[in-house]
Protein backbone atom coordinates (compact mmCIF):
# COMPACT_ATOMS: atom_id res chain seq x y z
CA UNK A 1 0.00 0.00 0.00
CA UNK A 2 1.43 3.38 -0.98
CA UNK A 3 1.04 6.14 1.55
CA UNK A 4 2.26 9.71 1.78
CA UNK A 5 4.51 10.07 4.80
CA UNK A 6 7.58 11.79 6.18
CA UNK A 7 10.89 10.03 6.68
CA UNK A 8 10.25 10.11 10.41
CA UNK A 9 6.91 8.34 10.15
CA UNK A 10 8.42 5.87 7.71
CA UNK A 11 10.90 5.04 10.48
CA UNK A 12 8.13 4.60 13.05
CA UNK A 13 6.17 2.28 10.75
CA UNK A 14 9.24 0.22 10.00
CA UNK A 15 9.83 -0.25 13.71
CA UNK A 16 6.26 -1.45 14.10
CA UNK A 17 6.58 -3.86 11.18
CA UNK A 18 9.87 -5.16 12.53
CA UNK A 19 8.10 -6.28 15.69
CA UNK A 20 10.38 -4.31 17.98
CA UNK A 21 9.84 -5.23 21.66
CA UNK A 22 11.59 -2.51 23.62
CA UNK A 23 11.92 1.16 22.69
CA UNK A 24 13.80 3.63 24.86
CA UNK A 25 14.14 7.15 23.57
CA UNK A 26 14.53 10.80 24.37
CA UNK A 27 13.18 13.73 22.34
CA UNK A 28 15.31 15.91 20.07
CA UNK A 29 14.44 17.86 16.93
CA UNK A 30 14.14 16.70 14.16
CA UNK A 31 13.79 13.14 15.41
CA UNK A 32 11.01 13.63 17.98
CA UNK A 33 8.14 12.67 15.66
CA UNK A 34 9.50 9.13 15.34
CA UNK A 35 9.28 8.42 19.03
CA UNK A 36 6.03 10.33 19.52
CA UNK A 37 4.47 8.13 16.88
CA UNK A 38 5.93 5.00 18.45
CA UNK A 39 4.71 5.99 21.87
CA UNK A 40 1.24 6.49 20.38
CA UNK A 41 1.41 3.07 18.69
CA UNK A 42 2.42 1.43 21.97
CA UNK A 43 -0.33 3.21 23.90
CA UNK A 44 -2.93 2.09 21.34
CA UNK A 45 -1.70 -1.51 21.55
CA UNK A 46 -0.99 -1.37 17.83
CA UNK A 47 2.64 -2.14 18.66
CA UNK A 48 3.27 -4.63 21.43
CA UNK A 49 6.41 -3.09 22.82
CA UNK A 50 7.52 -1.62 26.10
CA UNK A 51 8.23 2.07 25.65
CA UNK A 52 10.68 3.36 28.26
CA UNK A 53 10.55 7.11 28.78
CA UNK A 54 14.17 7.56 29.81
CA UNK A 55 15.71 10.79 31.12
CA UNK A 56 18.57 11.04 28.61
CA UNK A 57 20.07 9.54 25.48
CA UNK A 58 22.75 7.92 27.61
CA UNK A 59 20.03 6.00 29.42
CA UNK A 60 18.14 5.39 26.17
CA UNK A 61 21.08 3.48 24.76
CA UNK A 62 21.77 1.83 28.14
CA UNK A 63 18.19 0.52 28.25
CA UNK A 64 18.46 -0.69 24.65
CA UNK A 65 21.70 -2.46 25.53
CA UNK A 66 20.10 -4.08 28.58
CA UNK A 67 17.03 -5.23 26.68
CA UNK A 68 19.08 -6.45 23.73
CA UNK A 69 21.25 -8.51 26.08
CA UNK A 70 18.15 -10.56 26.93
CA UNK A 71 17.51 -11.30 23.25
CA UNK A 72 14.75 -8.72 22.73
CA UNK A 73 14.53 -6.62 19.56
CA UNK A 74 15.17 -2.97 20.46
CA UNK A 75 15.04 0.48 18.91
CA UNK A 76 15.96 4.06 19.66
CA UNK A 77 16.20 7.25 17.64
CA UNK A 78 18.21 10.41 18.12
CA UNK A 79 20.02 13.25 16.44
CA UNK A 80 23.03 15.53 16.87
CA UNK A 81 23.57 16.42 20.57
CA UNK A 82 21.68 13.31 21.59
CA UNK A 83 23.95 11.07 19.58
CA UNK A 84 27.01 12.77 21.05
CA UNK A 85 25.58 12.26 24.53
CA UNK A 86 25.29 8.54 23.79
CA UNK A 87 28.86 8.22 22.64
CA UNK A 88 30.17 6.05 25.49
CA UNK A 89 27.34 3.58 25.00
CA UNK A 90 27.75 3.38 21.23
CA UNK A 91 31.07 1.71 21.94
CA UNK A 92 29.34 -0.43 24.55
CA UNK A 93 26.65 -1.73 22.19
CA UNK A 94 29.09 -2.80 19.48
CA UNK A 95 31.71 -4.28 21.80
CA UNK A 96 28.98 -6.19 23.63
CA UNK A 97 28.01 -7.51 20.16
CA UNK A 98 24.39 -6.41 20.45
CA UNK A 99 22.19 -5.96 17.36
CA UNK A 100 20.73 -2.62 18.43
CA UNK A 101 19.14 -0.62 15.60
CA UNK A 102 18.84 3.15 15.78
CA UNK A 103 17.91 5.98 13.48
CA UNK A 104 19.87 9.19 13.62
CA UNK A 105 18.52 12.23 11.84
CA UNK A 106 21.62 14.06 10.66
CA UNK A 107 21.59 17.50 12.26
CA UNK A 108 24.27 20.12 12.95
CA UNK A 109 26.24 20.15 16.19
CA UNK A 110 26.09 23.19 18.50
CA UNK A 111 27.11 25.77 19.43
CA UNK A 112 25.46 27.86 17.04
CA UNK A 113 22.14 26.04 17.58
CA UNK A 114 21.08 24.77 14.20
CA UNK A 115 18.61 21.96 13.61
CA UNK A 116 19.27 21.56 9.88
CA UNK A 117 21.00 18.84 7.91
CA UNK A 118 24.66 18.18 8.63
CA UNK A 119 26.55 14.91 8.96
CA UNK A 120 29.13 15.76 11.59
CA UNK A 121 27.01 14.14 14.29
CA UNK A 122 27.11 10.59 12.94
CA UNK A 123 30.50 10.84 11.28
CA UNK A 124 31.98 11.73 14.67
CA UNK A 125 30.85 8.25 15.71
CA UNK A 126 32.75 6.59 12.88
CA UNK A 127 34.95 4.43 15.07
CA UNK A 128 32.34 3.17 17.53
CA UNK A 129 31.86 -0.14 15.73
CA UNK A 130 28.40 0.60 14.35
CA UNK A 131 27.35 -0.12 10.81
CA UNK A 132 26.20 3.15 9.28
CA UNK A 133 23.75 3.71 6.44
CA UNK A 134 22.95 7.05 4.77
CA UNK A 135 19.47 7.12 3.20
CA UNK A 136 18.19 9.33 0.42
CA UNK A 137 14.42 8.88 0.80
CA UNK A 138 11.61 7.98 3.19
CA UNK A 139 11.15 4.68 1.37
CA UNK A 140 14.79 3.87 1.87
CA UNK A 141 14.49 4.70 5.58
CA UNK A 142 11.64 2.23 5.90
CA UNK A 143 13.37 -0.52 3.95
CA UNK A 144 16.74 0.02 5.59
CA UNK A 145 15.32 -0.44 9.07
CA UNK A 146 13.82 -3.81 8.16
CA UNK A 147 17.05 -4.94 6.55
CA UNK A 148 19.14 -3.53 9.41
CA UNK A 149 17.54 -5.86 11.96
CA UNK A 150 18.21 -8.83 9.77
CA UNK A 151 21.80 -7.82 9.07
CA UNK A 152 22.62 -6.75 12.64
CA UNK A 153 21.20 -9.94 14.12
CA UNK A 154 23.41 -11.99 11.80
CA UNK A 155 26.57 -9.94 12.13
CA UNK A 156 26.02 -9.16 15.85
CA UNK A 157 26.90 -5.52 15.46
CA UNK A 158 24.54 -2.55 15.79
CA UNK A 159 23.28 -0.40 12.89
CA UNK A 160 22.75 3.36 12.72
CA UNK A 161 20.42 4.51 9.96
CA UNK A 162 21.08 8.13 9.05
CA UNK A 163 19.05 10.56 6.98
CA UNK A 164 18.95 14.30 6.46
CA UNK A 165 17.17 16.64 8.85
CA UNK A 166 14.02 18.06 7.27
CA UNK A 167 14.91 17.13 3.67
CA UNK A 168 14.01 13.57 4.61
CA UNK A 169 12.77 13.69 8.20
CA UNK A 170 9.93 16.15 7.57
CA UNK A 171 9.24 15.92 3.85
CA UNK A 172 6.28 13.81 2.81
CA UNK A 173 6.96 11.29 0.10
CA UNK A 174 5.06 8.27 -1.17
CA UNK A 175 6.16 5.21 0.77
CA UNK A 176 5.19 1.69 -0.14
CA UNK A 177 4.24 -0.12 3.07
CA UNK A 178 4.34 -3.86 2.45
CA UNK A 179 2.10 -6.61 3.81
CA UNK A 180 2.85 -7.31 7.46
CA UNK A 181 2.95 -11.01 6.60
CA UNK A 182 5.61 -10.55 3.96
CA UNK A 183 7.69 -8.59 6.45
CA UNK A 184 7.35 -11.40 8.99
CA UNK A 185 8.62 -13.88 6.42
CA UNK A 186 11.58 -11.67 5.67
CA UNK A 187 12.27 -10.84 9.29
CA UNK A 188 11.18 -13.64 11.59
CA UNK A 189 11.28 -13.52 15.40
CA UNK A 190 14.19 -13.50 17.68
CA UNK A 191 17.82 -14.17 17.33
CA UNK A 192 19.58 -17.08 18.99
CA UNK A 193 22.99 -17.20 20.61
CA UNK A 194 24.41 -16.00 23.89
CA UNK A 195 21.92 -13.95 25.86
CA UNK A 196 21.31 -13.23 29.53
CA UNK A 197 19.70 -16.44 30.76
CA UNK A 198 19.21 -17.65 34.33
CA UNK A 199 19.49 -21.25 33.14
CA UNK A 200 22.87 -20.60 31.55
CA UNK A 201 24.48 -17.94 33.71
CA UNK A 202 27.36 -16.11 32.03
CA UNK A 203 29.27 -12.94 32.83
CA UNK A 204 29.19 -10.38 30.00
CA UNK A 205 31.76 -7.66 29.57
CA UNK A 206 33.91 -8.31 32.62
CA UNK A 207 37.71 -8.05 32.93
CA UNK A 208 39.79 -9.16 29.96
CA UNK A 209 43.55 -9.20 29.64
CA UNK A 210 45.50 -7.75 26.70
CA UNK A 211 45.54 -10.90 24.56
CA UNK A 212 41.86 -11.67 24.88
CA UNK A 213 40.96 -8.03 24.41
CA UNK A 214 42.85 -7.92 21.14
CA UNK A 215 41.13 -11.12 19.99
CA UNK A 216 37.73 -9.52 20.65
CA UNK A 217 38.66 -6.45 18.61
CA UNK A 218 39.90 -8.69 15.81
CA UNK A 219 36.55 -10.49 15.81
CA UNK A 220 34.67 -7.21 15.44
CA UNK A 221 36.83 -6.16 12.51
CA UNK A 222 36.33 -9.58 10.92
CA UNK A 223 32.56 -9.33 11.39
CA UNK A 224 32.52 -5.86 9.86
CA UNK A 225 34.30 -7.19 6.79
CA UNK A 226 31.97 -10.21 6.60
CA UNK A 227 29.02 -7.84 6.95
CA UNK A 228 29.49 -6.71 3.34
CA UNK A 229 28.51 -10.17 2.15
CA UNK A 230 25.58 -10.35 4.58
CA UNK A 231 24.38 -6.93 3.41
CA UNK A 232 24.58 -7.92 -0.24
CA UNK A 233 22.72 -11.17 0.41
CA UNK A 234 20.08 -9.43 2.49
CA UNK A 235 19.55 -6.79 -0.19
CA UNK A 236 19.09 -9.57 -2.77
CA UNK A 237 16.55 -11.35 -0.59
CA UNK A 238 14.78 -8.06 0.05
CA UNK A 239 14.57 -7.43 -3.68
CA UNK A 240 13.14 -10.87 -4.34
CA UNK A 241 10.30 -10.22 -1.88
CA UNK A 242 9.66 -6.47 -2.13
CA UNK A 243 11.09 -5.66 -5.55
CA UNK A 244 13.21 -2.73 -4.45
CA UNK A 245 16.93 -2.74 -5.00
CA UNK A 246 19.66 -1.67 -2.58
CA UNK A 247 23.39 -2.22 -2.25
CA UNK A 248 26.40 -0.83 -0.43
CA UNK A 249 26.58 1.89 -3.09
CA UNK A 250 24.31 3.24 -5.82
CA UNK A 251 25.28 4.38 -9.29
CA UNK A 252 23.63 6.80 -11.69
CA UNK A 253 24.65 6.91 -15.35
CA UNK A 254 28.08 5.61 -14.47
CA UNK A 255 28.73 3.13 -17.27
CA UNK A 256 29.95 5.62 -19.91
CA UNK A 257 30.85 8.44 -17.53
CA UNK A 258 34.33 9.89 -17.42
CA UNK A 259 33.64 12.27 -14.54
CA UNK A 260 31.89 11.31 -11.33
CA UNK A 261 30.08 13.19 -8.57
CA UNK A 262 30.23 11.25 -5.30
CA UNK A 263 27.55 12.13 -2.76
CA UNK A 264 25.48 10.74 0.09
CA UNK A 265 21.88 10.98 1.34
CA UNK A 266 19.60 13.55 -0.36
CA UNK A 267 22.56 15.29 -1.94
CA UNK A 268 22.82 12.33 -4.29
CA UNK A 269 19.35 13.16 -5.64
CA UNK A 270 20.51 16.69 -6.39
CA UNK A 271 23.69 15.30 -7.91
CA UNK A 272 21.62 13.09 -10.23
CA UNK A 273 19.72 16.13 -11.47
CA UNK A 274 23.06 17.85 -12.03
CA UNK A 275 24.26 14.82 -14.00
CA UNK A 276 21.30 15.15 -16.37
CA UNK A 277 21.92 18.89 -16.79
CA UNK A 278 25.61 18.39 -17.47
CA UNK A 279 24.92 15.60 -19.91
CA UNK A 280 22.59 17.94 -21.84
CA UNK A 281 25.61 20.21 -22.25
CA UNK A 282 27.60 17.31 -23.63
CA UNK A 283 29.73 16.19 -20.70
CA UNK A 284 29.83 12.56 -19.65
CA UNK A 285 28.99 12.82 -15.98
CA UNK A 286 27.80 10.11 -13.62
CA UNK A 287 26.97 9.99 -9.91
CA UNK A 288 27.97 7.52 -7.21
CA UNK A 289 26.28 7.28 -3.84
CA UNK A 290 28.01 5.87 -0.80
CA UNK A 291 25.09 4.22 1.04
CA UNK A 292 27.01 2.22 3.65
CA UNK A 293 29.75 4.17 5.41
CA UNK A 294 30.64 1.30 7.77
CA UNK A 295 31.58 -1.22 6.62
CA UNK A 296 33.18 1.04 4.00
CA UNK A 297 32.53 -0.32 0.50
CA UNK A 298 36.06 0.27 -0.82
CA UNK A 299 35.83 -2.54 -3.39
CA UNK A 300 32.63 -1.18 -4.95
CA UNK A 301 33.96 2.35 -5.01
CA UNK A 302 37.23 1.32 -6.64
CA UNK A 303 35.34 -0.71 -9.23
CA UNK A 304 33.01 2.22 -9.97
CA UNK A 305 35.85 4.74 -10.27
CA UNK A 306 38.17 2.56 -12.29
CA UNK A 307 39.06 4.19 -15.62
CA UNK A 308 37.27 7.47 -14.86
CA UNK A 309 39.07 10.76 -15.41
CA UNK A 310 38.02 12.76 -12.38
CA UNK A 311 35.82 12.50 -9.33
CA UNK A 312 34.42 15.16 -7.02
CA UNK A 313 33.26 14.21 -3.52
CA UNK A 314 30.53 16.35 -1.95
CA UNK A 315 30.71 16.47 1.83
CA UNK A 316 28.04 17.88 4.14
CA UNK A 317 30.54 17.59 6.98
CA UNK A 318 34.09 18.53 7.81
CA UNK A 319 36.96 17.09 9.77
CA UNK A 320 38.54 20.33 10.97
CA UNK A 321 42.20 20.48 10.07
CA UNK A 322 41.72 17.89 7.34
CA UNK A 323 38.82 17.98 4.85
CA UNK A 324 35.43 16.42 4.08
CA UNK A 325 35.19 13.00 5.68
CA UNK A 326 33.77 11.01 2.75
CA UNK A 327 36.45 12.53 0.51
CA UNK A 328 39.14 11.40 2.93
CA UNK A 329 37.71 7.91 2.95
CA UNK A 330 37.46 7.71 -0.83
CA UNK A 331 41.06 8.92 -1.16
CA UNK A 332 42.17 6.30 1.34
CA UNK A 333 40.33 3.55 -0.56
CA UNK A 334 41.76 4.66 -3.92
CA UNK A 335 45.30 5.15 -2.61
CA UNK A 336 47.80 2.86 -4.32
CA UNK A 337 45.18 1.44 -6.71
CA UNK A 338 45.80 1.69 -10.45
CA UNK A 339 43.48 3.34 -12.97
CA UNK A 340 41.98 5.79 -10.45
CA UNK A 341 40.65 9.24 -11.39
CA UNK A 342 41.91 12.52 -9.96
CA UNK A 343 39.87 12.84 -6.77
CA UNK A 344 39.00 16.13 -5.12
CA UNK A 345 36.38 17.25 -2.65
CA UNK A 346 34.23 20.17 -1.62
CA UNK A 347 32.62 20.85 1.72
CA UNK A 348 29.13 22.26 1.33
CA UNK A 349 25.63 22.29 2.78
CA UNK A 350 26.75 22.63 6.40
CA UNK A 351 23.92 23.32 8.85
CA UNK A 352 21.46 22.74 6.00
CA UNK A 353 22.97 25.47 3.79
Amino acid sequence: MRQLMTGNYAASYAVKYAGVQVIAAYPITPQTQIVEKLSEMCAAGELKARYINVESEHSAMAACIGASSTGARVFTATSSQGLAYMHELLHWASRARLPVVMTNVNRAMAPGWNVWADQNDSLSQRDTGWMQIYCKSAQEVFDSILMAYKISEKVLLPTMINYDAFFTSHTEEPVDIPDAEKVRDFLPGLRRGRIMDVDDPCAFGTLVAQDTYTEFQYKIQESMQDAKKVITETCAEFKSIFNREYALTEEYKMSDADEVIIATSTMFETASVAVDELRKKGSKTGALRIRYFRPFPSEDIIRALSGKKRALVLDRNISFGAQGIFCQEVLAAAGGKGNMPAISGVVLGLGGR
Binding site: E55, S56, S69, A203, T206
Partner: protein, 295 residues
Protein backbone atom coordinates in the same frame (compact mmCIF):
# COMPACT_ATOMS: atom_id res chain seq x y z
CA UNK B 1 17.90 -20.64 67.70
CA UNK B 2 16.83 -21.41 64.16
CA UNK B 3 18.91 -19.59 61.57
CA UNK B 4 16.99 -18.05 58.70
CA UNK B 5 19.95 -17.61 56.37
CA UNK B 6 19.74 -19.90 53.34
CA UNK B 7 22.58 -22.37 52.89
CA UNK B 8 22.73 -21.94 49.14
CA UNK B 9 25.84 -20.08 47.95
CA UNK B 10 25.58 -18.25 44.64
CA UNK B 11 28.90 -16.50 45.09
CA UNK B 12 31.86 -18.80 44.72
CA UNK B 13 35.51 -18.75 45.65
CA UNK B 14 37.81 -17.02 43.22
CA UNK B 15 36.39 -13.51 43.44
CA UNK B 16 39.13 -10.91 43.49
CA UNK B 17 37.84 -8.75 46.36
CA UNK B 18 40.33 -7.60 48.98
CA UNK B 19 40.63 -9.22 52.36
CA UNK B 20 37.89 -7.97 54.64
CA UNK B 21 35.87 -6.34 51.86
CA UNK B 22 32.37 -5.58 53.12
CA UNK B 23 30.96 -5.56 49.60
CA UNK B 24 31.88 -9.22 49.11
CA UNK B 25 29.83 -10.24 52.15
CA UNK B 26 27.04 -7.98 51.00
CA UNK B 27 26.78 -9.71 47.62
CA UNK B 28 26.90 -13.10 49.27
CA UNK B 29 23.95 -12.26 51.52
CA UNK B 30 22.00 -10.52 48.77
CA UNK B 31 22.28 -13.57 46.51
CA UNK B 32 21.28 -15.89 49.33
CA UNK B 33 18.10 -13.86 49.64
CA UNK B 34 17.42 -13.44 45.92
CA UNK B 35 18.26 -16.96 44.75
CA UNK B 36 19.11 -18.31 41.32
CA UNK B 37 16.32 -16.58 39.45
CA UNK B 38 18.30 -13.36 39.37
CA UNK B 39 20.29 -11.25 36.90
CA UNK B 40 22.73 -8.57 37.94
CA UNK B 41 23.98 -5.41 36.27
CA UNK B 42 27.25 -4.08 37.64
CA UNK B 43 28.64 -0.74 36.46
CA UNK B 44 32.28 0.31 36.78
CA UNK B 45 33.27 -0.19 40.44
CA UNK B 46 35.30 -2.59 42.57
CA UNK B 47 32.65 -5.26 42.19
CA UNK B 48 32.92 -5.54 38.41
CA UNK B 49 36.57 -6.36 38.93
CA UNK B 50 35.79 -8.74 41.79
CA UNK B 51 33.72 -10.98 39.48
CA UNK B 52 37.05 -12.19 38.17
CA UNK B 53 38.65 -12.20 34.71
CA UNK B 54 37.04 -13.59 31.55
CA UNK B 55 36.11 -16.43 31.09
CA UNK B 56 35.53 -16.95 34.82
CA UNK B 57 32.86 -15.58 37.10
CA UNK B 58 32.49 -15.74 40.86
CA UNK B 59 28.74 -15.34 40.51
CA UNK B 60 26.41 -18.17 39.58
CA UNK B 61 23.80 -15.87 38.12
CA UNK B 62 24.06 -13.94 34.83
CA UNK B 63 25.99 -10.69 35.13
CA UNK B 64 26.07 -7.79 32.70
CA UNK B 65 28.83 -5.21 33.07
CA UNK B 66 27.45 -1.75 32.28
CA UNK B 67 29.00 1.67 31.86
CA UNK B 68 29.52 3.65 35.05
CA UNK B 69 26.59 6.07 34.85
CA UNK B 70 23.82 3.77 33.81
CA UNK B 71 23.32 0.75 36.08
CA UNK B 72 19.67 1.64 36.69
CA UNK B 73 18.74 2.27 33.07
CA UNK B 74 20.55 -0.86 31.92
CA UNK B 75 18.66 -2.89 34.52
CA UNK B 76 15.39 -1.28 33.42
CA UNK B 77 16.17 -2.35 29.86
CA UNK B 78 16.89 -5.91 30.96
CA UNK B 79 13.62 -6.05 32.89
CA UNK B 80 11.70 -4.72 29.88
CA UNK B 81 13.39 -7.20 27.54
CA UNK B 82 12.56 -10.10 29.84
CA UNK B 83 8.97 -8.99 30.35
CA UNK B 84 8.38 -8.70 26.63
CA UNK B 85 9.50 -12.33 26.32
CA UNK B 86 7.19 -13.46 29.10
CA UNK B 87 9.96 -13.93 31.66
CA UNK B 88 8.29 -11.87 34.33
CA UNK B 89 9.51 -13.52 37.50
CA UNK B 90 13.23 -12.82 37.24
CA UNK B 91 14.77 -10.51 39.85
CA UNK B 92 16.68 -7.84 37.95
CA UNK B 93 19.33 -6.21 40.10
CA UNK B 94 21.52 -3.17 39.65
CA UNK B 95 24.52 -3.44 41.97
CA UNK B 96 26.59 -0.27 42.20
CA UNK B 97 29.07 1.50 44.43
CA UNK B 98 28.47 4.87 46.04
CA UNK B 99 30.11 6.69 43.12
CA UNK B 100 27.82 4.89 40.70
CA UNK B 101 24.83 5.78 42.87
CA UNK B 102 25.31 9.13 44.65
CA UNK B 103 27.30 10.77 41.85
CA UNK B 104 27.56 9.75 38.21
CA UNK B 105 24.65 7.29 38.30
CA UNK B 106 22.20 9.48 40.20
CA UNK B 107 20.43 10.77 37.10
CA UNK B 108 19.61 7.34 35.71
CA UNK B 109 18.74 6.05 39.19
CA UNK B 110 16.39 8.95 39.84
CA UNK B 111 14.69 8.40 36.48
CA UNK B 112 14.26 4.67 37.09
CA UNK B 113 12.84 5.42 40.54
CA UNK B 114 10.45 8.02 39.12
CA UNK B 115 9.24 5.50 36.53
CA UNK B 116 8.95 2.97 39.34
CA UNK B 117 10.83 0.32 37.39
CA UNK B 118 10.35 -3.17 38.79
CA UNK B 119 14.00 -3.64 39.69
CA UNK B 120 16.24 -3.97 42.75
CA UNK B 121 18.91 -1.33 43.18
CA UNK B 122 21.66 -2.09 45.67
CA UNK B 123 24.25 0.50 46.58
CA UNK B 124 27.20 -0.95 48.44
CA UNK B 125 28.57 2.19 49.96
CA UNK B 126 32.27 2.18 50.78
CA UNK B 127 32.17 5.96 50.93
CA UNK B 128 34.68 6.74 48.17
CA UNK B 129 35.81 5.79 44.66
CA UNK B 130 37.78 2.79 45.79
CA UNK B 131 38.35 1.06 42.47
CA UNK B 132 40.29 4.04 41.14
CA UNK B 133 42.37 4.23 44.30
CA UNK B 134 40.28 5.89 47.06
CA UNK B 135 39.12 9.30 45.88
CA UNK B 136 36.36 11.33 47.50
CA UNK B 137 32.75 10.86 46.44
CA UNK B 138 29.64 12.68 47.66
CA UNK B 139 29.16 9.69 49.96
CA UNK B 140 32.47 10.32 51.72
CA UNK B 141 31.71 11.42 55.28
CA UNK B 142 32.74 14.66 56.94
CA UNK B 143 36.27 14.58 58.26
CA UNK B 144 37.42 11.55 56.30
CA UNK B 145 40.75 11.26 54.54
CA UNK B 146 40.88 10.16 50.92
CA UNK B 147 43.49 10.65 48.20
CA UNK B 148 41.62 13.78 47.04
CA UNK B 149 40.75 14.99 50.53
CA UNK B 150 44.26 14.63 51.91
CA UNK B 151 45.77 15.52 55.28
CA UNK B 152 45.18 19.22 56.04
CA UNK B 153 42.19 19.21 53.75
CA UNK B 154 40.05 16.24 54.80
CA UNK B 155 36.44 16.29 53.67
CA UNK B 156 34.70 19.40 54.89
CA UNK B 157 31.21 18.57 53.61
CA UNK B 158 28.69 16.11 54.98
CA UNK B 159 27.74 12.91 53.22
CA UNK B 160 24.91 13.32 50.70
CA UNK B 161 21.67 11.96 52.15
CA UNK B 162 20.87 9.46 49.42
CA UNK B 163 18.20 7.76 51.53
CA UNK B 164 16.22 10.99 51.87
CA UNK B 165 16.60 11.52 48.12
CA UNK B 166 15.28 8.03 47.38
CA UNK B 167 12.47 8.37 49.90
CA UNK B 168 11.46 11.61 48.19
CA UNK B 169 10.90 9.55 45.03
CA UNK B 170 8.13 7.73 46.94
CA UNK B 171 9.39 4.36 45.76
CA UNK B 172 7.47 1.37 47.13
CA UNK B 173 10.31 0.05 49.25
CA UNK B 174 13.74 0.95 50.47
CA UNK B 175 15.93 -0.18 53.35
CA UNK B 176 19.36 0.20 54.83
CA UNK B 177 21.31 -3.02 55.30
CA UNK B 178 24.36 -3.97 57.31
CA UNK B 179 26.77 -6.86 56.82
CA UNK B 180 26.80 -7.16 60.62
CA UNK B 181 23.09 -8.07 60.62
CA UNK B 182 22.71 -10.84 58.03
CA UNK B 183 19.30 -11.98 59.23
CA UNK B 184 17.85 -8.48 59.06
CA UNK B 185 19.63 -8.04 55.69
CA UNK B 186 18.07 -11.14 54.17
CA UNK B 187 14.65 -10.53 55.67
CA UNK B 188 14.44 -7.07 54.10
CA UNK B 189 15.66 -8.20 50.67
CA UNK B 190 13.07 -11.00 50.82
CA UNK B 191 10.42 -8.46 51.73
CA UNK B 192 11.40 -6.45 48.66
CA UNK B 193 10.91 -9.54 46.51
CA UNK B 194 7.23 -9.44 47.34
CA UNK B 195 6.87 -5.83 46.24
CA UNK B 196 6.39 -4.70 42.66
CA UNK B 197 8.24 -1.58 41.55
CA UNK B 198 11.48 0.04 42.55
CA UNK B 199 13.36 -1.39 45.53
CA UNK B 200 16.39 0.49 46.83
CA UNK B 201 18.89 -0.95 49.32
CA UNK B 202 21.72 0.98 50.87
CA UNK B 203 24.51 -1.09 52.42
CA UNK B 204 27.31 0.45 54.42
CA UNK B 205 30.30 -1.45 53.18
CA UNK B 206 33.56 -1.28 55.14
CA UNK B 207 36.67 -1.14 52.96
CA UNK B 208 39.92 -1.90 54.80
CA UNK B 209 42.09 -0.52 51.97
CA UNK B 210 40.19 2.76 51.82
CA UNK B 211 39.20 3.15 55.44
CA UNK B 212 42.68 2.14 56.59
CA UNK B 213 41.21 -0.41 58.95
CA UNK B 214 42.12 -3.93 59.97
CA UNK B 215 40.52 -6.44 57.54
CA UNK B 216 39.42 -8.55 60.49
CA UNK B 217 37.47 -5.56 61.87
CA UNK B 218 35.09 -5.11 58.92
CA UNK B 219 32.04 -6.74 60.49
CA UNK B 220 32.77 -5.03 63.80
CA UNK B 221 33.02 -1.62 62.10
CA UNK B 222 29.71 -2.24 60.35
CA UNK B 223 28.14 -3.20 63.71
CA UNK B 224 29.54 -0.11 65.41
CA UNK B 225 28.11 2.04 62.60
CA UNK B 226 24.69 0.70 63.56
CA UNK B 227 25.29 0.90 67.31
CA UNK B 228 26.51 4.50 67.18
CA UNK B 229 23.57 5.52 64.95
CA UNK B 230 26.02 6.56 62.25
CA UNK B 231 24.20 4.10 59.99
CA UNK B 232 20.78 3.23 61.45
CA UNK B 233 18.89 0.22 60.14
CA UNK B 234 15.44 1.07 58.86
CA UNK B 235 12.93 0.58 56.06
CA UNK B 236 10.71 3.06 54.23
CA UNK B 237 7.52 2.08 52.45
CA UNK B 238 6.19 4.40 49.74
CA UNK B 239 8.53 7.13 50.90
CA UNK B 240 6.52 7.79 54.05
CA UNK B 241 6.16 4.79 56.32
CA UNK B 242 9.41 4.56 58.27
CA UNK B 243 10.17 1.43 60.29
CA UNK B 244 13.31 1.50 62.40
CA UNK B 245 14.65 -2.04 62.67
CA UNK B 246 17.06 -1.60 65.51
CA UNK B 247 16.83 0.83 68.38
CA UNK B 248 19.94 0.72 70.49
CA UNK B 249 19.21 0.97 74.22
CA UNK B 250 22.71 2.18 75.05
CA UNK B 251 24.22 3.59 71.95
CA UNK B 252 27.97 3.83 71.60
CA UNK B 253 29.75 7.17 71.15
CA UNK B 254 30.74 7.78 67.51
CA UNK B 255 34.38 7.86 68.56
CA UNK B 256 34.22 4.07 69.07
CA UNK B 257 33.42 3.75 65.38
CA UNK B 258 35.83 6.42 64.17
CA UNK B 259 38.89 5.19 65.99
CA UNK B 260 38.85 1.82 64.27
CA UNK B 261 39.58 3.59 60.97
CA UNK B 262 42.80 5.26 59.88
CA UNK B 263 40.90 7.52 57.46
CA UNK B 264 39.69 9.47 60.50
CA UNK B 265 43.12 9.86 62.05
CA UNK B 266 43.31 13.60 61.37
CA UNK B 267 40.08 14.41 63.26
CA UNK B 268 40.33 16.82 66.18
CA UNK B 269 38.01 16.88 69.19
CA UNK B 270 35.75 19.54 67.78
CA UNK B 271 35.28 17.59 64.55
CA UNK B 272 34.42 14.45 66.50
CA UNK B 273 31.85 16.51 68.40
CA UNK B 274 30.41 17.71 65.07
CA UNK B 275 30.08 14.11 63.88
CA UNK B 276 28.44 13.09 67.17
CA UNK B 277 25.93 15.92 66.92
CA UNK B 278 25.14 15.12 63.31
CA UNK B 279 24.52 11.45 64.16
CA UNK B 280 22.28 12.40 67.10
CA UNK B 281 20.32 14.87 65.01
CA UNK B 282 19.88 12.37 62.21
CA UNK B 283 18.62 9.78 64.69
CA UNK B 284 16.09 12.19 66.23
CA UNK B 285 14.81 13.09 62.80
CA UNK B 286 14.46 9.39 61.96
CA UNK B 287 12.47 8.75 65.14
CA UNK B 288 10.23 11.66 64.23
CA UNK B 289 9.69 10.34 60.72
CA UNK B 290 8.74 6.97 62.15
CA UNK B 291 6.35 8.45 64.65
CA UNK B 292 4.77 11.11 62.42
CA UNK B 293 4.78 9.77 58.86
CA UNK B 294 2.84 12.77 57.58
CA UNK B 295 5.28 15.47 58.64
Amino acid sequence: MKMTIPREELMTKGHTGCQGCGAMLAMRYALKALGKNTMIVIPACCWVVAIGPFPYSALEVPVFASAFACAASTAAGIKAGLEMQGKREINVVAWAGDGGTFDIGLQSLSAAAERNEDIFYFCYDNEAYMNTGRQRSSATPYGAWTMTTPKDSTKNEFKKDIDAIMAAHKIPYMATLSISEPEDFIRKVRKGMGIKGMKFFHILSPCPSGWLSDPSDSVKIARYAVETNIFPLYEVENGEKYIINKKIARKKPVSDYLKLQGRYRYLNESQIKTIQEAADKNWRSLLKKEEFPDT
